[in-house]
Amino acid sequence: MGDSKKLHPVGEASDLPDGGRKQVTIEGRAICLFHIGEEYYAVRSTCPHQGADLCGGTLGGSMLPSRPQEYVYGLDRHVLRCPWHGWEFDIRTGRSLFDPDRMRVRAYPVRVQDGRLFLES
């Protein structure tokens, strides 16, 4: 890894509709790219638990921290749930919901330039 940021082309924005996702490989690493509303997100696609492909997981919301026996739904379309054991990750940051400081996947900024998508690493 050098000090300077690199932009990696990952395709045309028009090929990834709202709600869509696709897996790309950057420098040998599988990364899952999402288009949600006005935003694009990209996270490392390998679950830190047992290596499952997170790109095969469901994207939805989850229950936010709340008082006991109360449920507050939120983060709709921003929580990626590992298909193997259900670990939840916020695709905006790559942080897990259960231990955001220590358990996370890398998140990559996504740039849109002239209708093309680039991952920054």
Partner: protein, 207 residues
């Protein structure tokens, strides 16, 4: 309330995490009284006692071995229902319910929480941390593994220097001798189990 140091709740088929108990927890917390539970002697045998899993044991040896499951169920219930988030000052003592099962239950609870967190969003920390902070376990009947070194290993896994309280159950047949029973504990753990943990838990009430 001179002379009172804790509140005892008889276990039933209503798990401790059920809100039925919350007025008692609220009062106990307000008065800084720990809540203790203890085998009923009717666990799994009479209908008013807590069930043991799978059926009714025939022999006393079966019952005495298996009654730990009632404590496991109640510990899991307390943590998962968020009782210690609702009553952050509450302390619970599990008396004579065993403790060497803790590694398995804590690991299972933490693991399930990682995958099923959205079901228990009120838990802000791994379930095991609530146990270490809020629940204490008495030592009798102390474990007697074939390899003496296993005592220290189990004690390390369960943070015995924080969670264990010495008890004898004397004069019951399965009592622990204070000199012999805990001999395999490392000295710094022993000091805490014999005195310090109880002093920290009960405070001025037992000084």
């Amino acid at each position: 309330m001179p002379g009172f140091v804790q509140v005892h709740i008889p276990l039933s088929n209503r798990l401790l995490g059920d809100r039925h108990h919350y007025p008692i927890f609220e009062a106990a917390e307000r008065h800084a009284l720990p809540v203790a539970v203890h085998p009923n002697a009717i666990d799994g045998i009479f209908r008013t006692g807590p069930s043991t899993a799978g059926g009714t044991p025939s022999y006393y040896a079966e019952w005495h071995t298996g009654l730990t499951q009632v404590f496991q169920a109640n510990l899991i219930s307390l943590v998962c229902q968020g009782v210690f988030e609702r009553f952050p000052g509450l302390r619970v003592i599990m008396t004579e319910g065993g403790f060497a099962w803790l590694p398995d239950v804590l690991w299972r609870m933490d693991k399930n929480w990682r995958g099923l967190r959205d079901e228990l969003p009120w838990l802000t920390r791994p379930p095991s941390e609530y146990v270490f902070d809020h629940v204490r376990f008495t030592t009798q009947p102390f474990i007697e593994p074939a390899k003496r070194a296993h005592v220290a290993q189990i004690c390390d896994m369960i943070q015995a220097d924080r969670v264990l309280l010495f008890s004898t159950d004397y004069p019951h047949w399965d009592f622990n001798d204070p000199v012999r029973a805990l001999a395999a504990l490392p000295p710094h753990v022993k000091e805490r189990v014999f005195a310090r943990n109880a002093l920290e838990l009960y405070g001025e009430r037992i000084r």
